[in-house]
């Protein structure tokens, strides 16, 4: 069995049960978020202690290699930041919008993500995807007092169910062509002739689409802006980064192991191309920050897929590094939105107008995240883009890189508009920023953490790049 291979997941599961018991026992909800954060940290520590070990468990169902460890850590990072955001957001409320369920769901979802990156078998991956998705649907719809949240949850669920239909059909076809669910078996079969089998091709394409949906790549993205806008912001902070990291990790593993002999770059290429176009252009017209960040997320998935296109272990390292930084800057931006939003209005450019004077620290943090998302040095946004694009160049994707650089330049307009609004527009005093000193200060931890990662990875990326490259080199 080798329980070591799933030790972090066991910790997380225990955490879920503990949280639920804790709430029943104490009836209090105050510290649940911080407890959940501790659970995630504990799981992360577990991963780090066994970082150099390759654990194969459960008759090869689980492959906890360095690749898995590395992506687990990215997922935990994103999950931790989101948990802290949620903990801060609901700290003051006597009866939180969610109780223990929110954090339990979040932890369960993280387990599902882990399964995507440590699973070595399509069955595990499929179950993992469902385990991660069901909580997300509920977290999006969970605040059922709000029409928007319910609508977001319903759209997310319907599209998600539709996508898992395609995914499952793809899995069935791949199984038909190769007679195996394991990555190893599929890889062997593909290299021994199945790459000429149309079943394999169709199955492979549908399989990829199932995950491209999860990362909101164009044209499988339609749910993302609506869900980001409608769902409660702490939830959005969670699924803006963590599930994407998991799904990209799985795509990397698939395209570098099981499907390595199946020339699928064209799919990634086209999707990357479209995602950058649509994400960046559509974002130009957004005034709602959450929606803006949704389109920005689509654009960033485009940049990340440029690296997936390059199809190599070094490129995978670059992508892993990018995801690390992306988690920090995106969750950080959502944490800021969370800090300044209030129930009776949406958070638009007018809300942040003059934020520089009203809440300078928060405005400074958001400025940093915007610069990072734009890709201005010396933030991680720049370092990440640079390594990803140069890896893509090495494998000859010049056109794609030019396209990406062009649209990065376009993105300046909408990111900087936020910065301009914060520092240069007069504040509209009729718009209240949730005061409660405690409320704002509660975000200090998450904002400092996210800013620090954004800056440190940008100024001195080398050790992290090294870890990423070495971890992902393990794949081959």
């Amino acid at each position: 069995m080798n329980l070591f291979s799933i030790a972090p997941e066991i910790i997380l599961t225990a955490g879920v049960l503990f949280l639920m018991a804790w709430e029943i026992a104490t009836g209090g909800r105050k510290n649940l978020g911080y407890l959940a954060a501790l659970v995630i940290v504990a799981a992360g520590v577990m991963v780090i202690t066994q970082y150099d070990r390759v654990e194969v468990g459960f008759s090869g169902m689980v492959l906890a290699d360095r690749f898995g460890h590395f992506f687990r850590l990215i997922i935990y990072l994103a999950g931790l930041l989101a948990t802290l955001t949620a903990a801060s957001a609901w700290h003051g409320e006597a009866r939180g919008v969610f109780g223990a369920e929110f954090f339990s769901l979040l932890l369960v979802s993280i387990i599902g993500m882990d399964l995507l990156v440590i699973g070595a078998n399509l069955i595990v991956v499929f179950l993992g995807l469902e385990i991660l998705s069901l909580p997300l649907y509920a977290m999006a719809a969970g605040r059922t007092q709000s029409d928007e949240a319910v609508e977001a949850g319903a759209k997310y669920f319907l599209t998600g169910a539709f996508a898992s239909g395609f995914l499952l059909f793809g899995i069935a076809l791949v199984y038909g062509a190769t007679g195996s669910f394991t990555f190893e078996g599929i890889g062997n079969a593909v290299s021994q002739g199945a790459q000429l089998d149309p079943l394999m091709w169709v199955g492979g394409v549908l399989l990829l689409i199932g995950f491209l949906f999860k990362i909101a790549a164009v044209p499988f993205h339609a749910w993302a802006p609506d869900v980001y806008t409608g769902a409660p912001t702490p939830t959005v902070a969670f699924f803006a980064a963590a599930p994407k990291a998991a799904a990209v990790g799985l795509l990397l593993r698939l395209s570098l192991t099981a499907l390595v002999d199946l020339p699928m770059e064209t799919v990634f290429w086209a999707v990357a191309w479209l995602s950058m176009l649509v994400g960046n252009l559509w974002a130009l017209r957004q005034r709602d920050l959450k929606r803006l960040l949704a389109y920005s997320g689509i654009a960033h998935i485009g940049y990340i897929l440029v690296g997936v296109c390059a199809k190599g272990s070094a490129a995978a390292g670059a992508v892993g590094f990018y995801l690390m930084g992306y988690a920090a800057m995106t969750v950080g931006a959502f944490a800021v939105v969370c800090a300044i939003e209030s129930k009776d209005r949406s958070t638009t450019l007018d809300t942040v107008a003059g934020l520089g004077r009203r809440r300078p620290a928060i405005a400074a943090a958001l400025t940093l995240f915007m610069f990072a998302l734009t890709g201005i040095p010396p933030t991680v946004g720049f370092a990440g883009k640079f390594v990803v694009f140069s890896e893509a160049l090495k494998s000859g994707h010049l056109g794609l890189v030019i396209w990406a650089v062009m649209f990065s330049a376009v993105s300046v307009y909408y990111y900087l508009r936020v910065v301009v609004a914060m520092w240069m527009w007069p504040a509209d005093d009729s718009i209240s920023i949730p005061a409660g000193k405690r409320g704002i200060r509660g975000y200090a931890l998450v904002l400092i953490l996210a800013s620090a990662i954004t800056l440190i990875l940008g100024v001195y990326p080398q050790p992290f790049l090294k870890i990423a490259a070495e971890s992902l080199f393990w794949l081959l």
């Binding site: 339609a222 040095p377 090495k394 650089v405 300046v412 307009y413 900087l416």
Partner: protein, 644 residues
């Protein structure tokens, strides 16, 4: 000394951090002190670095404190390189920067946000030093983006003024267009050379050029596109005049002495690449000459004292590019240095005047300040004489060198020389127009204002820069006039690679010709001064008369050829067009309409595209399904092609 080279930029960074975090708590005095002291340390270390460099036989020193990015066999150290070129640049940046910091202590003493100001200024110096010390393109790009960011923050420093905020935005956006070129160039270099280190790229460049010359040309043009953005050349110069919205010392430091010269520095640094592609050099020369003339003509009629200086800066930068374009790299850098001295002085002097008149910038409301502000007047006069090219001041030496090179260089042309000479005459004219309008004649400011000489902290930097404006040029005194051209020799090792690629310089020009041209350049300078004297001192009614007589021409110049308006219409507006709100703020005055093809496409796409996200689940699902259909279509196509 040299192993500590990498700490030179760190001091201003330290200043930035201290001022940023504690400035408000520690108060104005301390923040000013920190701001100045950190730059002073950098300056002293730069002097020490220069001294050590002179004792090195190979005149180049590399240090890399840490590896920045390593992916596979690709390796970018966070490396710094000291060679004569970067030595000159760090001296100018930290030296002039220090004087301007000192001046700022007085100038900003009334501003409550002084700590923020000094922290930004320090951050700027940090990035600028990183830019010039970088030993590879990527680190240079960090500095490049960083100075742009600081420039943006400092132009918009008084963000309560909407015009300042707008100007900051404009500067940033125009610069990003240039940066796009620069970043594409970096990727192209990386793609073809597999490295980004200056030394390695320049070593391999001839081999690459032999295989594909077009590639080097493309890289050169893209690099130059970056330079036109940062150094405000045609067609991307429009941001610089607006950037005058920032505090005056900022204009002096960033928009005259240092940041805007980054483009010049970059072209000089990449001289080897440019020399390998003669077309690019020609483009540089022509754009430079055209900008010089064009901007000078607009400076003639500006009434805002800082706008005159802004156009003058653009024009002088044009000179520098002209020099680079004709292969006289050392002359370009030389002018960069002398220009930093006298243009910083001009700006600080103007700031002094503005300060004394309680923030009045309109020349028409000045006059007669000569007696009230003697120090400002005399130092300003020195700077004006220097920029007008009167010997033996610094400006004469460097400008004359450029004019001579543009005529005599094998890739020069007499037309370039002519343009340069005309510009020189115009420069002398508008500069003395400024001097006469501000300092001579009757006072035209309201009687309630009592101008006074600036305090010591502002006056001392003026004097220091005044001295530099006089003697700064002597280190490059030309041979024909009995000098040693020491500066050129000092820089020679840097440009060896490029010089070797250019046609050899033959001594076909007689000494007489050279003397003649020197005489001409002095003469046009004096002519311009005389002309201004005639118009603005002897018969001040004359310009008014001309203005009515040539009303059309006057308006054309006054409105800067309507270039801003045209740009707004064809570039700025469509680009931001999609973001309707921004554009309402961006320029109300511009009429809808003349969007050019691609930009209009982007706008339409964004506008109609967003409309397609209707929020309808069914539409989203159909998009999804069509995505699958197309993907399967690709599979079908692949199989049909294989089988049939």
């Amino acid at each position: 000394m040299l192993p500590l080279l990498w700490t030179i930029p760190l001091w201003p960074l330290l200043g930035f951090l201290l001022n940023g975090f504690f400035g408000r708590r520690w108060g104005k005095k301390t923040s000013g002190l920190i701001g100045c002291a950190t730059i002073l340390v950098s300056f002293l270390m730069s002097v020490g670095a220069l001294a050590s460099l002179l004792s090195l036989p190979e005149r180049r020193y590399l240090v890399a404190p840490f590896d920045w990015i390593v992916v596979g066999n690709f390796h970018v150290p966070f490396g710094f390189m000291l060679d004569p070129l970067s030595a000159v640049m760090i001296l100018v940046v930290s030296g002039v920067g220090f004087l301007i910091h000192v001046y700022s202590v007085g100038y900003m003493s009334h501003d409550p946000d002084q700590p923020r100001y000094f922290s930004f200024l320090n951050l700027f110096v940090f990035f600028m030093l990183v830019l010039v010390l970088a030993d590879n393109f990527l680190v240079m790009y960090i500095g490049w983006e960083g100075v742009g960011l600081c420039s943006y923050l400092l132009i918009g420093f008084w963000f309560r003024r909407p015009s300042a905020a707008r100007a900051g935005m404009k500067a940033f956006i125009v610069n990003r267009i240039g940066d796009l070129g620069f970043s594409l160039a970096i990727f192209l270099i990386f793609w073809n050379f597999g490295t980004l280190s200056f030394i390695e790229v320049f070593e391999r460049a001839p081999a690459v050029a032999a295989v594909s010359g077009g590639l080097i040309t493309a890289i050169g043009l893209l690099l130059f596109m970056g330079a036109t953005g940062k150094s405000a050349q045609i067609p991307l110069y429009v941001w610089l005049p607006d950037a005058m919205e920032g505090p005056t010392p900022v204009s002096a430091l960033i928009h005259a002495a240092t940041m805007v010269t980054a483009g010049v520095y970059m072209v000089a640094r990449c001289s080897t690449l440019f020399a390998l592609a003669p077309v690019t050099l020609a483009v540089v020369a022509i754009i430079g000459a055209a900008t010089a003339l064009f901007a000078a003509s607009m400076a003639l009629v500006q009434n805002d004292i800082k706008k005159v200086l802004a156009y003058s800066t653009i024009s002088q930068l044009g000179y520098m590019f002209l020099a680079l374009g004709v292969g006289a790299f050392a002359a370009g850098i030389f002018h960069l240095m002398t220009h930093a001295f006298f243009k910083a002085l001009l700006f600080l002097g103007a700031g002094s005047v503005i300060h004394a008149l309680s923030d009045e910038q309109d020349l028409r409301k000045m006059g007669g300040l000569k007696t009230a502000m003697p120090i400002t007047y005399w130092t300003f006069l020195i700077a004006a004489l220097a920029i007008a090219g009167v010997p033996p001041l610094a400006g004469f030496v460097s400008k004359d060198e450029i004019l001579w090179q543009s005529f005599s260089s094998p890739i020069g042309h007499w037309l370039l020389w002519l343009v340069g000479t005309i510009t020189a005459a115009l420069t002398a004219f508008y500069m003395f127009r400024l001097v006469f309008l501000a300092f001579h004649g009757q006072s035209r400011y309201p009687s309630t204002v009592h101008p006074h000489e600036s305090p010591g902290s502002m006056a001392k930097p003026l004097i220091a820069l005044g001295v530099l404006s006089v003697i700064g040029g002597w280190i490059g005194w030309p041979k024909v006039l009995g000098g040693g051209s020491w500066f050129e020799h000092f820089l020679a090792p840097v440009f060896e690679g490029a010089e070797a690629r250019l046609p050899a310089r033959e001594a076909t020009h007689s000494l007489g010709l050279e003397y003649g041209l020197i005489a001409v350049s002095i003469a046009v300078g004096l002519l311009g001064i005389g002309w201004a004297y005639q118009w603005y001192v002897k018969s001040p009614e004359r310009p008014e008369h001309l203005r009515t007589r040539f009303a059309g021409l006057y308006n054309l110049l006054l409105n800067k050829y309507w270039v801003d308006e045209i740009y707004d219409a064809i570039i700025v507006r469509p680009l931001v067009g999609s973001a309707r709100f921004l554009y309402r703020r961006f320029d109300l005055a511009v009429v809808d309409g003349t969007a050019n093809g691609i930009a209009k496409l982007a706008q339409t796409l964004a506008a109609t595209g967003v409309r397609t996200s209707t929020g309808r689940f069914r539409l989203g699902a159909v998009t999804f399904a069509f995505g699958c259909v197309v993907a399967l279509g690709w599979v079908v196509y692949t199989f049909l092609r294989v089988s049939g």
